[in-house]
């Protein structure tokens, strides 16, 4: 069975390492914060100017001056620091953020990503996505493997306008965990009950499958 959004987030959370500074994008990536493994100390960066993002506030404790990049009310944890948007993207650009998790509409077998614009639809803008993908040392993409029409979103080349080139390192989709290698996608894990054949059939880009592919456990 395909992973739920929560499970995608849960699986990505296993990639976190103690001491990581992490930027979580809007949507599924935000959910990753709910699954940080015990004993792992990570600091969440919000690109609107905060290191040390905490959970949502309790009702009545919302602070309009304290939001995340999704404009949601949040809290801080002890040891947090506020700064301006230039320094925020400065630390991202300088590679100080260890891991960036974000969503995608398409990823290519060479690691290109498209997630900001669909021709013919109202374009809302790239926000900080282009800065993040161009600078992050390590990018994991959270996405669904196919669009509602059943067409693969893991492609030989992106069809949508790009957000960044050759930057995605790993993908956690609803069907699989894949690395992006110089030889294209490489299958690492499959969702419970999802066969290698199904993943192969739903991956349009070049896919390498070597040896036994373990099933994710939740």
């Amino acid at each position: 069975m395909a992973l739920t959004k929560e499970q995608i987030a849960q699986r990505i959370a296993r990639e976190l390492k103690d001491g990581y500074y992490v930027n979580l994008g809007i949507g599924i990536p935000t959910l990753v914060a709910n699954y940080i493994p015990a004993g792992i100390d990570v600091v969440l960066q919000s690109e609107n100017g905060l290191l040390g993002m905490g959970p949502f506030p309790f009702e009545g404790e919302e602070d309009p001056d304290l939001i995340n990049a999704g404009k949601q009310t949040i809290t801080t944890v002890p040891g947090s620091a506020f700064f301006d948007s230039a320094l925020s993207f400065g630390m991202i650009r300088a590679g100080k953020v260890d891991l960036t998790v974000l969503g995608a509409m398409e990823v290519s077998e060479s690691g290109d990503i498209a997630n900001w614009k669909i021709p013919g639809k109202m374009v809302k803008g790239m926000g900080g996505a282009m800065d993040l993908v161009a600078s992050a040392r390590n990018i994991i993409v959270a996405m669904v493997h196919s669009n509602p029409k059943g067409e693969s979103k893991l492609l030989p080349a992106c069809t949508l306008p790009l957000t960044g080139v050759k930057c995605v390192k790993k993908i956690v989709s609803d069907l699989a965990v894949l690395d992006v290698t110089p030889q294209g996608f490489r299958l690492l894990e499959r969702a419970p009950g999802v066969s290698v054949e199904e993943i192969k059939s739903k991956t349009a880009g070049k896919l390498t499958v070597e040896g036994d592919i373990p099933e994710m456990k939740f």
């Binding site: 301006d84 230039a86 803008g125 790239m126 161009a134």
Partner: protein
């Protein structure tokens, strides 16, 4: 060095049709509410607005859009605004979208007297169209120019009569860089104090960058996405 003006109206009194204006804030957080209200009241038109976002239909820069005061919007993200979308699709409004970090750094560059910066954001995308690409240490960067504005309008938490500013939490966002990038910089603050009352170690924007300052009459501080968790 007293930079205090009487009101938002006084602060923006010389802004004319066609001006290029920077407005601080991220979403509705840390926006200069009082100056926006004064700009709407004044009714000047054909403005170019540089701001990370364009407000919502009935708040922030959305109020200026509703009055059709904005000719061009330069931003990184412009969702959450139906009137914006209508004007854009009808061709009434021109929009230039810029990666958020590039926008922030171009404002900062102006304040630091740096004519241009190199950033990797947008390399290989349509943002790079027509721009100089240059390789440093094997990585490609785009040349992006410093951003200056006729007026930068920012909102701070506390300020003093000498123009020194302190921002609160994530309401800081674009305000400090924009404050440095205005030919004329106008700051509205929640609390205005006499020079000497703010800790000189804790100043975010030194007064040299600020030309006019006043205490805003009131702040609605609307929340865009009220997210909460349940008490256990």
């Amino acid at each position: 060095m007293n930079k205090v003006v009487a009101s938002a109206d006084a602060a923006i009194s010389d802004i004319k049709d066609g001006a290029v204006i920077m407005l601080g804030g991220f979403g509705l957080c840390g926006i200069p509410e009082n100056c926006i209200a004064a700009l709407v009241k004044k009714g000047i038109k054909q403005l170019t607005c540089i701001s990370n976002n364009a407000g919502v239909d009935d708040f922030g820069i959305g109020l200026m859009l509703k009055q059709k005061q904005v000719k061009k919007m330069i931003a990184s993200y412009v969702g959450e605004n139906a009137e914006f979308e209508r004007q854009l699709l009808s061709g009434e409004l021109e929009v230039e979208l810029i990666p958020q970090g590039t926008l922030a750094t171009r404002c900062m560059a102006a304040g630091y007297g740096l004519p241009a910066i190199y950033t990797p954001a947008g390399v290989g995308t349509e943002v790079a169209d027509g721009k100089e690409v240059r390789k440093f240490n094997g990585k490609e960067y785009l040349l992006e120019y410093a951003f200056e504005a006729d007026y930068a309008i920012v909102k701070a938490w506390k300020g003093d009569t000498a123009g020194n500013l302190i921002y609160k939490e994530t309401a800081r966002n674009f305000n400090p860089m924009m404050a440095t990038a205005g030919k004329v910089t106008i700051a509205e603050v929640e609390e205005l104090v006499p020079a000497g009352e703010l800790d000189p170690n804790g100043i975010h924007t030194p007064g040299i960058y600020v030309h006019r300052i006043f205490q805003g009459q009131q702040y609605e501080k609307r929340i865009e996405q009220r997210t909460i968790r349940k008490k256990a």
